[in-house]
């Protein structure tokens, strides 16, 4: 037992239970309770982090769950190593800051205890997912975070959009989870264990085709949870949830679970680095990064921009996974958690100040009224765009140069283009929101600076968004690399980038920013994207017609297929089977019901008949 680790997830569990069962008696303070508890949890995570620096820490069993075979028991077992500790510190740290922000953000809510109960419970699930020692436990909490995400997206369940967005997230994730379950079964078939480290030890016995199959199935789960093509459309819809939820779950933690899962199973992925699965992963990552960044160009809803930008950044991380650079992916995951949480929270502060107006075309000039918020947002956008020496710069640069060093120039080029787009839409978002003129029909008088309880977390996150990148500097041998290398064994990168290539990885962000400034900072009223890019701009606004393409290519055929399945599979076979089974049983039941009249003589007669039948059975059959 490692007490600090145990308390890291035990405290939020207590918080969830307290808020869930007793919260109705201290509604106003439920946020404070949850926040305090999260602070404790964060402290425990830090203690665990520093206590367990040196030696490998033995994993320990919380309790035995159930025996699966004679040799293997599915346990609740905690795996403490450098990777899980890093993730735990990030989850609790960002989680704590977001809890504090939420105290301010949810103060008009009628039943905040429900919100904080879910939020705490999400943290528990996420931590246990991170600490999972075996795949079954990981899957349980993988589903657990999905459930909490569903509940939190639909927190305002009386809004039909929120309810259906929650449902969409849940259903799309199921598609990916099927892959996860199949991969787990497949691994168990070969190894008779779910333990991740044991599997990693034995994994060399597997033939290449099997590894490719398993990794592809696992990656299917990643596309669901981490919102990659083609399963990413749930993430923008998930913005219906309260903004702290978007920051915590749909930017910083849950959506990165896929990245974490692949990193955790890196032994499996490392085995055949040139198999088709890696090609698929790299391609999907690059395409997602590019497509999502392009869509973000055309969005007017501030949270939608950030959502697509999250998808795009996750695409970068998946690219890194595709070339086997897990530490780079985790590095970007960490910096992204800082600056994207910052961006979402500042967006939340703006939305809070604007009384739930999210359309950027109706904002403008807010920098004068909420200068601190504006500063934080600009810092976040700089980090997102990869402005030199901010956190995003180091991590994105690490990924792009790794991709190039692994000799994937097309993916690299796609990444560069995505980086240009990123710089552009970041600048656009900053300018539309905070500069220029006030464009809404309402008077801007009521808009004022964010309350202090919400501003504090913003400032801390802003510092992190500026400075966190130095953890991974210099590239390949920085603090973070040294620390994670103990756990994550990845092939070393060979060679160095030429100066030109190096410049090429810095410049796109700057170019994007410059373009954005060029188009938006000149005029008083911003030109719509369509005017800037002509017909292509219309594509961006219409999300590259992806919804329509999906509609045409996937939804319609799927609907026809689904209809066929419904009538042939569901109605005829499953329902047919179940209903005929039911009918047989019900018929039998109705016949038998006549016997069960409740008459005493019937009862006694059946009793006696039973005795006679048993006698007859022995007499006929012998013994």
């Amino acid at each position: 037992m490692n007490l600090a680790v145990v308390f890291t997830f035990l405290l939020p569990l207590c918080g969830a239970l307290i808020n869930g069962f007793l919260g109705q008696w201290f509604r106003k303070d439920s946020g404070t309770v949850a926040g305090t508890i999260m602070f404790g949890s964060f402290m425990c995570a830090l203690i665990a982090f520093f206590q367990n620096q040196a030696s490998p820490i033995p994993s320990f069993t919380l309790w035995h769950w159930f025996p699966i075979s004679d040799t293997y028991t599915a346990d609740m077992r905690i795996l403490v190593d450098h990777l899980s500790l890093t993730m735990a510190v990030m989850v609790t740290g960002v989680g704590f800051l977001i809890h504090v922000f939420a105290v301010g953000y949810m103060d008009h809510e009628a039943a905040p205890e429900r919100f904080f109960c879910y939020l705490n419970f999400f943290v528990v699930n996420m931590l246990l997912l991170v600490f999972s020692d075996n795949l079954v436990m990981m899957f349980v909490f993988w589903e657990g975070v999905g459930l909490m995400s569903y509940l939190l997206i639909g927190f305002w369940y009386y809004k039909p959009e929120a309810a259906s967005a929650g449902k969409k997230a849940f259903v799309m994730n199921r598609v990916g989870d099927t892959g996860f379950v199949l991969a787990i079964f497949w691994l168990f078939y070969y190894f008779h264990t779910f333990n991740i480290l044991e599997i990693a030890g034995k994994v060399k016995e597997l033939p290449e085709s099997v590894v490719t199959g398993i990794t592809l199935l696992l990656f299917l789960a990643v596309t669901g949870k981490s919102a990659q093509l083609p399963l990413f459309t749930w993430l923008p819809d998930a913005m219906e949830g309260p903004t702290p939820v978007s920051a915590l779950i749909h930017a910083a933690t849950m959506v990165t679970a896929g990245i974490y899962m692949v990193t955790r199973n890196h032994a499996l992925f490392n085995l055949y680095p040139n198999d088709p699965a890696h090609m698929v992963i790299l391609t999907v990552g690059a395409l997602t990064a590019l497509v999502a960044a392009a869509i973000a160009l055309g969005q007017n809803d501030i949270k939608k921009v950030l959502a697509y930008s999250t998808v795009s950044q996750l695409g970068f991380m998946v690219m890194a996974l595709g070339v086997g650079c897990y530490i780079q992916a985790v590095f970007h995951l960490l910096t992204h958690a800082c600056f994207k949480a910052l961006l979402f929270l500042t967006a939340g502060a703006v939305i809070y100040g604007m009384h739930h107006e999210q359309d950027m075309t109706k904002m403008g000039g807010l920098a004068k009224r909420m200068p601190m918020t504006a500063a934080c947002f600009i810092i976040g956008c700089l980090a997102l765009a990869g402005f030199p020496l901010t956190a995003g710069y180091f991590s994105k640069d690490a990924i792009l140069s790794a991709v190039l060093l692994k000799d994937h120039p097309y993916a690299w080029a796609a990444g560069l283009l995505a980086a240009v787009f990123t710089g552009f839409y970041s600048t656009r978002a900053v300018w539309l929101t905070f500069f220029g003129e006030w464009r809404s029909s309402h008077a801007p008088d009521h808009i004022h600076e964010t309350p202090r309880v919400m501003l504090m977390p913003l400032m801390i996150l802003a510092v992190l968004a500026l400075g966190a990148g130095f953890a991974g500097w210099p590239e390949g041998s920085g603090m973070l690399y040294k620390y994670l290398e103990v756990t994550v064994k990845q092939p070393e990168l060979k060679g160095h980038l030429s100066m030109a290539n190096w410049l090429a990885t810095i410049l796109p962000g700057l170019i994007g920013i410059a373009l954005g400034l060029f188009f938006y900072a000149r005029g008083k009223s911003p030109a719509p994207v369509v005017a800037l890019f002509g017909p292509i701009g219309n594509w961006f606004v219409q999300k590259l017609y992806l919804d329509e393409i999906y509609e045409f290519l996937i939804v319609e055929p799927t609907k026809i297929f689904a209809q066929a399945c419904y009538y042939i599979g569901d109605k005829a076979m499953i329902d047919g089977f179940l209903h005929s089974w039911y009918n047989v049983c019900a018929f039998g039941g109705s016949r038998m019901r006549r016997l069960h009249s409740g008459h005493l003589h019937a009862t006694l007669a059946s009793f006696l008949a039973g005795v006679v039948a048993l006698f007859a059975y022995i007499l006929v059959r012998g013994y």
Binding site: F66, R593, L614
Partner: protein, 484 residues
């Protein structure tokens, strides 16, 4: 004097003695107080049960009372489960009977009945077993009719009594034959006769064996000895029904385990195939009939028959694994039923007295906590993770599969599938239907139902639900609690 104390080793019966002592104390107290000013007889009863439970930690395992009873880890665990279940039921009893009727008597009768369970699971002699079965049953007959103004309750009592007397008569007949076949009534003749390579028992022995086993099968409600279950469960007061679902089952299962060859250990094929048939018939008929029910208590009665059928599969497994799976199943089963019937007890006053399933409409809106509790019990009865019912079925079916009986395991799985239909229908009714007009005016806030409930039944319900959840999440821990 000390020599006969040693020879009798009466200490093995200490828990039963404590329980009986407290039952007598309750009766004496009741003799000098009026019902309305009864000083919480349940608390006295629960104290007694707690003492008995603790004492069972310390009593030695072994044979006692001139070889009439024997305590081993299995019988001790079985008895502890019954005692713990009895404590929970006693917590619910006050809500059922209010302050005016027969609470002292009910408490004392529950204790006497548990005493009978203790004798049955430890009995080594058929006379002791018979005493146990009567001591278990007679209080149950009375308690079934405790709601004297309700014709259904009276009907239940009378039917239970008559059928029970019939079963006792058959058992006595069987005992007479057994005496003729073996020369005495010691129960170890069963084990000796079913040993591998033993001299094959005579037909007359089998005749006695069948008649005595029949009485046990009757107690646990196996088809075709099950018909009393419906009217009795439906007519009895709900909290008493909760007690009836597990106490006689525990006693009968572990008495039967002493007289039935487990799995293939005897080398005789007839007992196995007989149990195969009985188990299949019981689970299938129970589930099929449960599908047709419109009354929640009748539905749960059939469901308890079906669960009895699943549990009978344990006799197809040789060795201790089946018995351990059975113990776990019974413990979880007791908790699930206590939970479900407690909720029924608590909502019954505000719903229609017949307790049709439809009358639970909108329970999720009017009594949120109770609806959640009932839903957890029903999910668990269906066998869904992460609740105890899943683990219980998992352990049992795994052991059955390991023993090579594939078809009966498949039958159990298909039956569980079927059972989802009627269990989840109740959940559907509770959550999706609007509350019936009659209820909606008196029950306003979600916690309204909660405040009007006595504290003790609240605690009992909470303990039962926590038990159901814990047994699903950490079966090891749960097993450690119940098995001392």
């Amino acid at each position: 004097m000390s020599s006969w104390l040693q020879a009798s080793n009466w200490l093995v019966m200490l828990p039963e003695m404590i329980i009986a002592f407290f039952a007598l104390i309750i009766l004496l107290v009741a003799a000098f107080t009026k019902d309305s000013e009864a000083p919480y007889p349940e608390s006295l009863a629960i104290t007694g049960l707690a003492l008995a439970f603790i004492s069972s930690y310390y009593i030695p395992e072994g044979v006692g009372y001139y070889g009439q009873v024997a305590v081993d880890s299995v019988s001790r665990t079985a008895f502890s489960i019954a005692i713990l279940g009895g404590m929970l039921v006693l917590g619910v009893v006050p809500s059922q009977f209010g302050t005016d009727t027969m609470r002292s008597e009910t408490s004392a009768l529950v204790l006497f009945s548990l005493c009978g369970v203790g004798f049955m699971v430890t009995a080594q002699h058929l006379i002791m077993l018979f005493l146990g079965i009567e001591l278990l049953s007679l209080p149950l007959y009375i308690m079934a009719g405790m709601r004297t103004r309700d014709p259904r309750s009276r009907e239940a009592a009378l039917k239970y009594f008559i059928v029970g007397a019939f079963a006792s008569a058959l058992m006595l007949f069987g005992m007479a034959i057994y005496l003729g076949a073996n020369g005495d009534l010691l129960m170890n003749h069963f084990a000796l006769s079913f040993q591998k390579n033993a001299v094959p028992p005579t037909l007359i022995f089998f005749a006695g064996w069948i008649l005595i086993s029949t009485a046990m099968l009757f107690k646990l409600g196996a088809v075709p000895f099950h018909m009393w279950v419906l009217d009795v469960y439906q007519g009895s007061p709900s909290s008493i029904t909760a007690f009836m679902t597990f106490a006689p089952k525990i006693a009968a299962f572990f008495a039967l385990a002493k007289m039935w060859p487990l799995g293939s250990e005897s080398g005789l094929s007839t007992p196995i195939s007989m149990m195969y048939l009985l188990s299949f018939l019981t689970m299938t008929a129970g589930n099929m009939m449960a599908l047709m029910q419109r009354n929640i208590k009748r539905m749960l009665a059939y469901s308890s028959i079906a669960h009895g059928g699943y549990m009978l599969m344990a006799f197809l497994i040789s060795g201790t694994e089946g018995i351990h799976a059975l113990l776990f199943y019974l413990a979880v089963y007791a908790l699930m039923n206590i939970g479900a019937f407690t909720v029924i007890t608590l909502v019954a006053p505000s719903r229609d007295p017949e307790l049709s399933i439809i009358s639970l409409s909108g329970l999720a809106k009017t009594h949120t906590y109770l609806a959640v509790a009932l839903a957890i019990c029903l999910f668990s009865l269906t066998g869904l993770p992460p609740f105890g019912g899943f683990m219980a079925k998992f352990f049992l079916i795994k052991a059955v599969l390991a023993s090579g009986n594939v078809y009966i395991a498949l039958a159990a799985i298909f039956n569980s599938l079927l059972s989802a239909y009627y269990y989840l229908r109740v959940v559907l009714v509770m959550t999706t239907r609007e509350p019936l007009a009659a209820d909606s005016d008196e029950l306003i806030s979600p916690s309204a139902g909660f405040t009007s409930i006595g504290l003790s039944s609240r605690i009992a319900l909470a303990v039962a639900i926590i038990g159901v959840v814990i047994s699903g999440i950490s079966p090891d821990f749960f097993a450690r609690i119940i098995s001392l």
